[in-house]
Symmetry: C2
Subunit: 305 residues, 2 copies
């Protein structure tokens, strides 16, 4: 079981380097991150984009461009389709966004011929190592699905549980979190949470333990959970997965953690044929490298399926 990003990266190294295809790679932050992933033995990269610009950026960063395979394709849409096809065809194990806008990047993922559709809905998972919290936390969905229905939440759980399994967590504890830990018919999020718990008990959601609704303290703080007398619950401050009621709750907690707590984090898009890395410009260098490492762990698990 992996309990830190250091362990995650060690695990990736043991499994052997993966290959990463980058769409529209002419970006310093992206090249810096894939270079670090290369150096750390996480992944080799195939950079698709404007070769001249890629080489100039590498030179300016004192990175040897020949450590990458470069495919020259100055047109952005075309570059994304070429890059995603590498992942589609199994040449690459992971797919990463460069300087292409998110909309067109997603279009390449959803492309019927060369894309990464599996029939499952896509969702986003952010993995956090938080100082003071023993277990790694998988936050979902904080960036992709806006107002998930009950059915969407089932899909989000399934996508995320796969990632947790890849990280060696055999039976992750999934907490559908809310403002309160009791069902209140006036709060739909709590009703959904109870329904998801029941579906898990009935064997309709498998490979994990679901227990909700849970407030944040009961989900992540064993002491608080015990203090509140959370006996008879399946989760007592030891949740692995935090399932949020909607994107506002998820994203606000996500950014609160990043900007006020001591954390390491990384994130990927799941539900795709191979894991997808869609970091934003505001993500730090470490977050980008961590995201590549998380994707590599999931790619390894998919290979062994």
């Amino acid at each position: 079981m992996i309990t830190s990003f250091d362990e995650l990266i060690s695990h990736v190294k043991e499994c052997g380097k993966k290959t990463l295809a980058v769409a529209v790679a002419q970006d310093d932050a992206v090249i810096e991150a894939v270079h670090a992933a290369h150096e750390q033995g996480i992944a080799d990269a195939i950079l698709v984009g404007d070769e001249e610009k890629i080489r100039a950026i590498a030179a300016s960063l004192q990175i040897d461009p020949d450590e990458f395979r470069i495919i020259n394709e100055p047109d952005m849409i075309q570059a994304s389709l070429t890059a995603v096809k590498l992942a589609h065809d199994g040449v690459a194990d992971m797919y990463m966004k460069g300087v292409i806008d998110t909309k067109n990047f997603l279009k390449s993922i959803l492309n019927k011929e060369v894309g990464l559709r599996t029939g499952k809905p896509l969702s986003h998972v952010a993995l956090f190592e938080v100082e003071g919290v023993k277990q790694l936390l998988f936050l979902t969905d904080v960036a992709f699905m806006t107002y998930p229905t009950l059915e969407d939440k089932v899909n989000i759980i399934n996508n995320t549980v796969e990632v947790a399994h890849a990280c060696g967590i055999a039976c992750p504890k999934v907490a559908p979190v809310a403002a309160v830990e009791v069902v209140n018919p006036k709060m739909p999020a709590t009703v959904d949470a109870a329904e998801l718990t029941k579906m898990n008990e009935e064997g309709k959601i498998t490979g994990c333990i679901v227990d909700g609704p849970l407030s944040m303290d009961l989900a992540i703080d064993p002491e608080a959970a015990q203090h509140k007398g959370a006996t008879g619950r399946k989760i007592v401050g030891d949740a692995d997965v935090l399932l949020f009621p909607d994107i506002h709750a998820g994203n606000l907690v996500y950014k609160t953690l990043v900007h006020t707590a001591k954390v390491e984090n990384g994130c990927i898009i799941t539900g795709t044929k191979v894991p997808v890395i869609l970091t934003s410009r505001s993500d730090t260098f470490r977050t980008k490298v961590n995201s590549i490492a998380l994707a590599a762990v999931v790619a390894e698990a998919l290979k062994n399926e």
Copy 2:
């Protein structure tokens, strides 16, 4: 301008002790907190409840019960009505919940004859001092209003801005926060945020600067805000008030801060004739004392109105 709980408590001491009426005071955590408030020169307490039990608890805590005024009223409902009347009549400056359940405590506040109604809706505000964040943060509403409408949000802002003014923040910056910082018609929280910003520009919400929607990083992290190029915005990581889309987002962020960041916090109910302290059993001793101090600052401001 107050920028920490230490400064808040110093300010209260300068203003002179306030008086606190406690409903159903026979509770160790409550008696410990009001004793500390007495010791620190924040407030004297009138304890309404079962006198025998109150004296026994004080004795067990080695607190001299005669530092309080005790009104013997063993019946819980009657005790809450007696205590709230003290605040209603101006004998006490603040009203605090003891071991009475929240529902009956709120009933006493809303009582037409002896309660604390002002015609304004009630809302909850949590004040945070967060390590790494320069300004104090007023989080609202994380515990009381569940799914505020646009009109509710205007009321929440008005209630909270009064508290910020009491803390010496002449023109607080109010950030209606959301997952994104741009208006998206598919995300009602962002539409409300833009509407509140417009109402502020048109002079319909006064005494503050409203700028939203804002993501959490743009609201509280000046570096992140600058990195994202948030030019032309009125808030650049320096928000004083974080207005949440709903209770789930608010409460989850609130508890994330408490359980993962280094914080001091306290909270009160506003919109009432005098500030109301409604802490929960899971709140720490410090949070309870901080809440009394915050209430005292607001009580002082109300006196000077």
